[in-house]
């Protein structure tokens, strides 16, 4: 990185750096809820479902263009890149939200939630490979996503990410206490007259929306890491929910910044670097927790 002019670096990779930092700031807060609700494994399964959705979109693209003439017309007259992104996000959302609702329903029926989520992950992984295999373009694209190559984010993708994650951050800031209550003690929430079903779906939409948009821009590998690792590190240190959210966000930001530095310094793929830096925070948090206990 030392030989590379900073302004050129920023010009080439500025969008990707901003995307990684923004995701590091917001995605761990979404993961913090998943982890506290005992659904941390969703953090691995949902991005995989979204990736399967994207691969599915590529697999049926030819059919879609042939039969959905209104879309083809729109693409021919519009900016193809701008239309391709919502198309892929649409399929990512369909798979992600569909899987979420299915998993939420099976967990309510008490048939072994962890087993169902693990099975969903296995099925989604297999579908991703099969769907990608059906389209050469999709295979290259999905392979890149899974490798965590997030260095090619364009301005439009960054705009979408800023809007989506900005909305998620605002919604979580406003409704964090209600979401915490319905998740932590649904019986009290019900006694207080809150509509549990509506809040559950609201939570699913926030998680599903975040995953669908992020998987298309920053990819599933980075998403896995940011959903699970920073909140896991933060939880061992936090003494309050406010602290938990702030520490999760801070840990995510450190993971992104550290991952960017390692990636550029050693010329490695950004995604895996970011995840491994996030993983390093776990022993750091464990040591800090021990020190905190000794001081108390």
């Amino acid at each position: 990185m030392g030989d590379f002019p900073l302004d050129l670096l920023w010009e080439l990779f500025g969008n990707s750096i901003l995307a990684a930092l923004l995701a590091g700031l917001v995605v761990p807060i979404v993961g913090a809820y998943l982890l506290a609700r005992g659904t941390g494994f969703y953090g691995v399964t949902l991005p995989q479902l979204a990736a399967a959705g994207i691969a599915f979109g590529f697999a049926i693209l030819a059919w879609w263009q042939e039969n959905m003439t209104w879309l083809v017309d729109a693409i021919e007259h519009g900016d193809e890149a701008h239309l391709a992104l919502p198309y892929h996000i649409l399929w990512a959302s369909v798979f992600c939200l569909g899987g979420l609702i299915l998993m939420a329903r099976t967990s309510k029926s008490g048939k072994g939630e962890a087993g169902h989520v693990a099975a969903t992950f296995a099925i989604a992984s297999a579908l991703t490979i099969l769907f990608a295999h059906m389209s050469p373009m999709g295979e290259v694209f999905v392979h890149g996503l899974l490798r965590g190559e997030i260095l090619a984010i364009d301005g439009h993708e960054l705009e979408i990410l800023v809007i989506a994650l900005g909305a998620v951050a605002v919604l979580l800031a406003l409704f964090r206490r209600s979401l915490t209550l319905v998740s932590f003690d649904p019986e009290l929430a019900k006694v207080q007259g809150m509509r549990l079903g509506s809040w559950e779906y609201f939570h699913l939409v926030i998680v599903g929306g975040t995953v669908s948009v992020c998987v298309m821009t920053i990819g599933p590998t980075v998403l896995f890491g940011l959903l699970v690792l920073p909140p896991l590190a933060a939880r061992s240190l936090a003494g309050s929910m406010t602290g938990y959210f702030l520490l999760s966000s801070l840990a995510g930001l450190i993971s992104s910044a550290g991952g960017i530095w390692v990636s550029f310094e050693y010329d490695l793929p950004l995604g895996p670097c970011l995840v491994l830096v996030a993983a390093l925070l776990l022993p750091v948090a464990a040591i800090a927790k021990r020190a905190k206990r000794k001081l108390a």
Partner: protein, 238 residues
């Protein structure tokens, strides 16, 4: 004393799971200021009754009518996941049902009320500590403080002395005793217990849950535990 108006009426209700009735033929009237213990053998349906009264479980037949919106409950502490790093203060603030369009603001009045309730249960000094790090008895007292946040007319507690050492049990019963004698804000209290001797000096009436039925019996607080156990069929192990 708060007025003796009816807060909760149960008419010919039955509660159960699926098509199986656990409790049936329940007729009850709960009025302001009453202190009732819910006792019975293990698995007799004490918690089912409590959940039915709270509205968490719909009656299979009959009706449960709550004539007040100001209802609070204290769950068994082990029902709450320790995975949430809630501070004790945050937990108590949850008891305030005040919200606008789903947004729950912790206004100054909410924060001050939470501090008063924490003080009432002797946990103000633990306000910044994680709820999960409190002892069993402290957690139970924090949950009582949370329940008191809405100034309830009706307070329902599910085995608040379960899994708690003797001194903590005495503290909890002391707090409930003080609530019952508060001059102008005494709520009706229903408490599920597994030990008769713990609530014998506190409850004026007992709801005896056994064999699918609920019997309401008056108790003389001056009766010895042995005499009461005779009346309730050795309920101390219930």
């Amino acid at each position: 004393m708060r007025d003796k108006r009816s807060l909760l009426s149960v008419r010919g209700a039955a509660f159960g799971f699926g098509t199986t009735r656990i409790l049936q033929g329940i007729d009850l009237e709960i009025c302001g200021g009453q202190a009732l213990g819910i006792l019975g053998p293990n698995g007799a349906g004490k918690t089912t009754l409590l959940r039915g009264l709270l509205g968490l479980r719909k009656p299979m037949v009959g009706a449960v009518e709550r004539h007040t919106k100001s209802v609070a409950y204290v769950p068994q502490q082990d029902r709450l996941s320790p995975e949430w790093p809630l501070s004790t203060f945050e937990l108590v603030c949850m008891g305030s049902a005040r919200s606008r369009f789903g947004v729950r603001w912790h206004t100054r009045s909410v924060r001050e009320a939470a501090e008063r309730k924490l003080d009432l249960v002797g946990l103000l000094h633990k306000r910044a500590e994680s709820f999960a790090d409190l002892s069993g008895g402290q957690r139970q007292r924090a949950l009582i403080a949370r329940a008191l946040m809405c100034g309830p007319d009706l307070l329902l507690l599910d085995e608040p002395t379960s899994g708690v050492d003797r001194p903590s049990q005495a503290k909890i019963m002391g707090i409930l005793g003080e609530l019952g004698t508060a001059s102008d804000s005494a709520p009706a209290i229903l408490l599920v217990a597994h030990q008769l001797d713990l609530i014998a000096g506190w409850a004026k009436e007992i709801l005896w849950v056994a064999d699918g039925r609920v019997d309401r019996r008056c108790v003389d607080t001056s009766d010895s535990t042995e005499k009461l156990e005779g009346l309730f069929g050795g309920a101390s192990h219930g």
